[in-house]
């Protein structure tokens, strides 16, 4: 819980995955998205733990499920990014840019 709002690794990945999945951003869908993009397997529990942390930090919030989804108590929880979440992603990306700028190591295009 970085006071300045910088995101941890997995936090950033999950937060971006939420954005990519919206409005269908729920636990298993987000997990699948991360797996698809990174090629590495993530446990569903880990995704939920991070989602909770992000929710506590007010970077994401629960949103109404899309039309036609049933509402039993076991129902999926859908998430959407908040303005604070957007700011945090941008802040983190900007930090990376600042840190990378001028470094020779930098190979084109790999900023994520």
């Amino acid at each position: 819980m970085s006071p300045r709002g910088y995101l941890g690794d997995l936090e950033e990945i999950v937060l971006l995955a939420v954005v990519r999945c919206e409005p269908e951003a729920y636990g298993m869908r987000i997990r699948q998205e991360i797996e698809d993009q990174s090629g590495r397997s993530v446990a569903i529990g880990a995704v939920y733990a991070v989602l909770e942390r992000l929710e506590d930090k007010h970077y994401i919030r629960r949103v109404e499920p899309p039309q036609g989804t049933n509402r039993d108590p076991r129902a999926r929880r859908f998430f959407g990014i908040t303005p604070a979440g957007k700011a945090a992603v941008e802040e983190t990306a900007a930090l990376r840019d600042r840190l990378w700028s001028g470094l020779r190591l930098r190979r084109g295009g790999k900023t994520s």
């Binding site: 636990g27 397997s41 446990a43 569903i44 529990g45 880990a46 733990a49 076991r74």
Partner: protein, 857 residues
């Protein structure tokens, strides 16, 4: 495999996300076409995050609770009156309950401090054919039981006696116990120093040995470890100390200071002399009933073998615990119930206060709900506040109870063992903590739930008006309080009326301005003629004191509890069937000193000597039973303890109560001390001014005559008489205190609810007053509302009291458990005081500022 994995996952996940995640995983599993390996890997990878989620929840709950507590504390500090009233009310209830619990725990719940298998310890009595089930046992009977019974691992006998100790300081008379060699092992207690008697030491007359109690050893012999083997002088005879028993032993009572061997040769005494008590330890696997059957079979054999002495005599068996605490169980449980009832009323009062406060806080709660506090969060916060109050109340209660327990220990003389070890220990503290938590739940949960449901838009707009539902709830609470208070007050008043009846029973003697002191003349040094000379000299000295109206010696005294059940058959000269009577000793002057009335004939005089005509004085009860309407004076009687000696009845005196005031006066026969020596007598001195100065004159007189004699048990006759009703006084006092507190708390509750009704309907009432309604009739209407509540409560409470009263029956004397007058008094008092409690706040209606109340909206 997948099922096991799912089970594990369900186990580790926090409840609120469990179903969602498992359902999600299962759906994906189905979509993928079922790879178990993938499923298991998912579960394995989720275990650690699951614990992370759980930790988060814990931290969040703790932070919430801390916040609630901080908020609660701020609120309690701000609302001082509310806080103090609630805390004090709860402290009263919890404190009283804790005190009584400590008593119940000490006396009823803890095992006796004997062997770990104390459940197998039994107390055994001879059952008397005259309907006395718990009588003393003849030594020969006891030894026969012990030899023939197969149900006991060991069977021990003992008897109380008084001895004079002349070693290591002033002569002192001490309560002692003569016991068989197996008493200590039967109870499973080992000496702290040395040993108990061996069987060889009880053979014949018994060896000259003694076992000291820890208290005597410490007080008289400085607790020296070398006490074993030392010789001390008891009743003028040197005896060797063989051991010291720990204080916890204290058998058969707290009074026992030393133990002597019970001589085997007592077996040769007549079976008609019954004076032993017995305890036994059951053999493994034998039940109490089986052991009782075994002993009764032996008793039947003894009946046919010794019909003269044993006809009709059976055996009574009870667990030692029952025998020791049986009499106090009922009163203690009644007191516990009373304290719990008071606690309930206290909780109800706090509950009412919280409801009223909840009403005043409606707006605050609505705002909090509007900015996102969930109902459960609000409920929890309210509950934390209730808990805070209860904990403060509990803490105050522990302080109060520590004081109360000290006071109980100092003042209670309940006939129960181990009371002097009454203390605020871990168990009592744990009980206080438990009671506190229960109080928080009882007093806080309902108002909390009520308050958490309140928030709504109408509350936001509507100011701090209470809903009528809330008043209904408070009314229901007050009705319950009145019901409980009614039942409690009925019980307390029943006990008080019973005590009044009991203390107004004439005891048969005059208790005022009379001093008592026991003396015991060692049989080895005092023969009948020297005994008479001793009493003559001592009493003459006393009679020369200014203001002494009468002085005598005699005993055992009525209501003293000494030799309570030792009775003998008395026959008269023209009839053979005996009446049983207490046989008592008296010197000249005894009846006058005791204030026992002379009904006919004369009292004993100096002319009744050992060599003169044997005489007796009987009381009117024995006279009635033996002689009916005939004049007993000049007739002759014979006592079973003194067969072959016909005594002339020279006088008839008034009847006295021997065992207790609540039993009818029993028949007595008095013998002159000169003609039949007694082991111990009591000096009785009437008048003479200050008891302490009379006592010192008496002490000096005795010391002048025989420096080795000790006086003991110096007290007044009034103390003795009061002592016989002390348990009833204590029960009445404690129950009275509880009932008074309960009634007062209830009246506060009535006051509170009427005050709230008035405050709540101030606008409506103001409007009606403004429109010209009569203020007085509105006040009357409001008081009538309170009276309706009180009537319902009183009716319900009376019903409870009628149903529960039989539980009090054994504690009552001269008044029925459903005594209508008692109920009527309680009902009248409660209705009248409820009306007053309602009138005080209702009167405010008359002083309502009509315009101000209208302007509020």
């Amino acid at each position: 495999m997948r099922r096991l994995a799912r089970l594990i996952l369900r186990g580790v996940l926090p409840g609120d996300v469990r179903e969602t995640i498992v359902a999600d995983l299962d759906a994906e599993f189905d979509r993928r076409g079922g790879s178990t390996g993938w499923y298991v890997r998912q579960v394995a990878g989720s275990i650690a995050p699951a614990f992370v989620m759980r930790t988060r929840r814990l931290a969040r709950a703790a932070a919430d609770a801390a916040q609630d507590a901080r908020f609660g504390v701020r609120l309690l500090v701000r609302q001082k009156t509310f806080t103090i009233a609630s805390v004090l009310t709860l402290a009263l209830g919890i404190g009283a309950t804790t005190c009584i619990f400590s008593l119940v725990d000490r006396v009823l719940l803890r095992p006796l401090p004997y062997a770990e298998s104390s459940s197998r310890l039994l107390r055994i009595w001879s059952a008397n054919p005259r309907g006395i089930p718990r009588g003393a046992i003849a030594p020969a009977d006891f030894f026969d039981w012990r030899e023939q019974s197969r149900s006991f691992e060991s069977l021990a006998a003992y008897t109380d006696t008084d001895v004079t100790l002349t070693s290591a300081g002033e002569p002192v008379q001490l309560p002692a116990t003569q016991a068989t060699a197996n008493l200590a092992s039967t109870l499973g207690v080992s000496p702290m120093i040395g040993r108990w008697f061996t069987p060889a030491e009880t053979v014949g007359e018994g060896q000259l040995v003694v076992v000291l109690g820890e208290r005597l050893w410490r007080s008289r012999f400085g607790g020296v470890p070398t006490i074993e083997g030392r010789t001390i002088v008891i009743d003028g005879i040197p005896r060797g100390v063989v051991g010291v028993m720990p204080d916890a032993f204290a058998f058969p009572s707290r009074d026992a200071r030393l133990w002597l061997p019970l001589p085997d040769k007592w077996r040769s005494q007549t079976r008609a002399a019954r004076f032993l008590a017995a305890v036994g330890r059951l053999a493994p696997g034998v039940t109490l009933d089986a052991a009782a059957g075994d002993l009764r079979a032996i008793a039947r054999r003894l009946e046919s073998a010794f019909p003269d002495t044993n006809r009709g005599y059976g055996v009574t068996v009870a667990s030692l615990t029952d025998a020791v605490v049986g009499d106090v169980r009922r009163p203690l449980l009644v007191l516990l119930a009373a304290s719990l009832a008071m606690l309930l009323i206290a909780c109800a009062n706090v509950s009412g206060l919280m409801l009223a406060r909840g009403a005043a806080r409606t707006r605050e709660l609505a705002i909090r709900a509007a900015v996102g506090a969930s109902a459960s969060r609000l409920l929890r916060q309210q509950f934390v506040e209730a808990m805070l109050i209860a904990v403060l109340g509990g803490a105050a209660a522990v302080l109060a109870a520590a004081w109360g327990i000290g006071a109980l220990r100092a003042s209670l003389t309940v006939d129960a063992p181990f009371l002097d070890r009454l203390s605020m220990d871990g168990r009592v503290l744990a009980a206080a903590a438990t009671i506190t938590v229960i109080c928080a739940i009882v007093s806080g949960l309902f108002p909390a739930w009520r308050a958490s449901r309140q928030p709504g838009s109408e509350a936001l707009g509507g100011g701090s008006r209470t809903t009528s539902g809330q008043v209904r709830v408070r009314q229901a609470i007050v009705v319950t309080q009145i019901a409980v208070a009614t039942a409690l007050a009925c019980g307390a008043l029943l006990l008080a009326r019973s005590l009044e009846r009991l203390t107004s029973v004439p005891a048969g003697f005059a208790a005022d301005r009379t001093l008592l002191a026991d003396v015991s003349l060692p049989a080895r040094r005092y023969k009948p003629d020297t005994r008479a000379a001793f009493f003559d000299r001592a009493l003459d000295r006393l009679r020369t004191m200014p203001d002494v109206h009468a002085a005598g010696a005699g005993g055992p005294l009525p209501l003293s509890g000494q030799e309570g059940l030792l009775r003998f058959g008395v026959t008269q000269d023209r009839r053979t069937d005996p009446e049983r009577a207490y046989v008592r000793w008296a010197t000249p002057g005894y009846f006058a000193a005791m204030g026992i009335a002379q009904r006919a004939g004369r009292a004993f005089s100096a002319a009744d000597r050992a060599d003169s005509v044997p005489v007796a004085v009987i009381d009117e009860e024995l006279a009635r039973r033996l002689f009916g309407r005939e004049d007993p004076v000049g007739r002759r009687i014979q006592l079973s303890m003194n067969r072959g000696v016909w005594r002339e009845v020279v006088g008839v005196v008034g009847a006295v109560h021997q065992t207790s005031l609540d039993r009818p006066a029993e028949p007595h026969a008095y013998l002159p001390e000169t003609q039949l020596a007694s082991t111990a007598l009591t000096f009785v001195v009437r008048g003479g001014g200050d008891p302490a100065s009379v006592a010192s004159v008496l002490r000096r007189a005795v010391a002048d005559i025989d420096p080795e004699l000790a006086l003991s048990n110096v007290r007044t006759l009034a103390d003795l008489a009061a002592g016989s009703t002390r348990p009833q006084r204590q029960n009445t006092l404690l129950l009275g205190v509880f009932a008074t507190a309960a009634v007062l708390l209830t009246l506060i509750g009535v006051y509170g609810v009427i005050a709230q009704i008035v405050a709540q309907s101030a606008r409506e009432l103001g409007l009606r007053l403004a429109l010209g309604a009569n203020g007085r009739s509105i006040v009357a209407l409001t008081v009538r509302r309170a009276l309706v509540m009180a009537l319902i409560g009183v009716a319900a409470g009376s019903l409870v009291a009628v149903l529960a009263a039989p539980a009090l029956r054994s504690m009552l004397y001269g008044v029925g458990p459903r005594d209508p007058l008692t109920f009527a008094i309680v009902i009248a008092i409660l209705l009248a005081s409820a009306a007053v409690a309602a009138y005080v706040p209702a009167r405010r209606i008359l002083h309502l500022d009509v315009l101000a109340t209208l302007r509020v909206e």
